[in-house]
Subunit: 198 residues, 2 copies
Amino acid sequence: MLYPTPIAKLIESYSKLPGIGVKTATRLAFYTIGMEDEVVNEFAKNLLAAKRELSYCSICGNLTDQDPCAICQDDTRDKFTILIVEDSRDVSAMENIQEYHGLYHVLHGLISPMNGIGPDDINLKSLLTRLMDSEVSEVIVATNATADGEATSMYISRVLKPAGIKVTRLARGLAVGADIEYADELTLLRAIENRTEL
Amino acid sequence: MLYPTPIAKLIESYSKLPGIGVKTATRLAFYTIGMEDEVVNEFAKNLLAAKRELSYCSICGNLTDQDPCAICQDDTRDKFTILIVEDSRDVSAMENIQEYHGLYHVLHGLISPMNGIGPDDINLKSLLTRLMDSEVSEVIVATNATADGEATSMYISRVLKPAGIKVTRLARGLAVGADIEYADELTLLRAIENRTEL
């Protein structure tokens, strides 16, 4: 024997989550049993509700509980700018700084030649359709500063520039608070290349 | 705005788990949304079932889905020995080695003078009642090798020895595979004290 069935099953469910192995899953399962009934009921309800009520915005691909999403529906936002991100978490990160007031487009992935993921495998086609009859004048590519992020950024710029749309990307340089001593070489290189006048 | 309500609520539920902060909870919540419907339904069901179906054995205090638990009900087990552990996970660890065939007693905590947890705050009284009219001849104290574990072990031995019950505890020494170089001083001290003849 190991654990009684109900806890064994709960451990199995927990260990399906990313980064959670059997030991952590076991700790979480035992902790769950000690939690208030109410809290666990709420947890189960939230799991089901998140799956049931959330979908992707048919315009921008952002995760939403209404379609189109709150951002696409918001008339006060700048309709001339679209910021392209990899996933909905990036939208939230960007919204948190309360500085960007344009629209978004969520790719749900990045072009990754190494992993055989091409432009057709991510949410790119809908961006092109979206741009075709719109007044968008600038597309800001805000993919991660990784190889796949760069590949995606290059591809988007190659496709959109001929259409006369201004394509920009987030600045590369030293992160605020970063130590030059510990910065990697590529970051330093970009930081010198993109130096700004004081 | 941050996240749509259903995901914000799910993040909140995840972050109530031990060792899971908001960043991890967010990652888990987004991952959950990408999981198969079936898997998430199962997860929610398992959460509720674990809370509903599990309780503590009225005899030994072990986590169980039947009362008395499978071990207490098992007539093939040695009724003369009780192994005392801190929680149900320790029971499983012990059962895994398939070497111990006696009964258990789960304390649900340890005596901790530093934290004001005394003998009455853990599942100890029921052990004394249990021993009173039983044929138990040996009690093995298998609490963790920590200060609280030692305190609990000392207390149990002080209470049970006068009643003529043999009280033993798990051996202290080098863990199998351990490097002497990296062993802490107390472990080395115990390893020398408890050296065995070859």
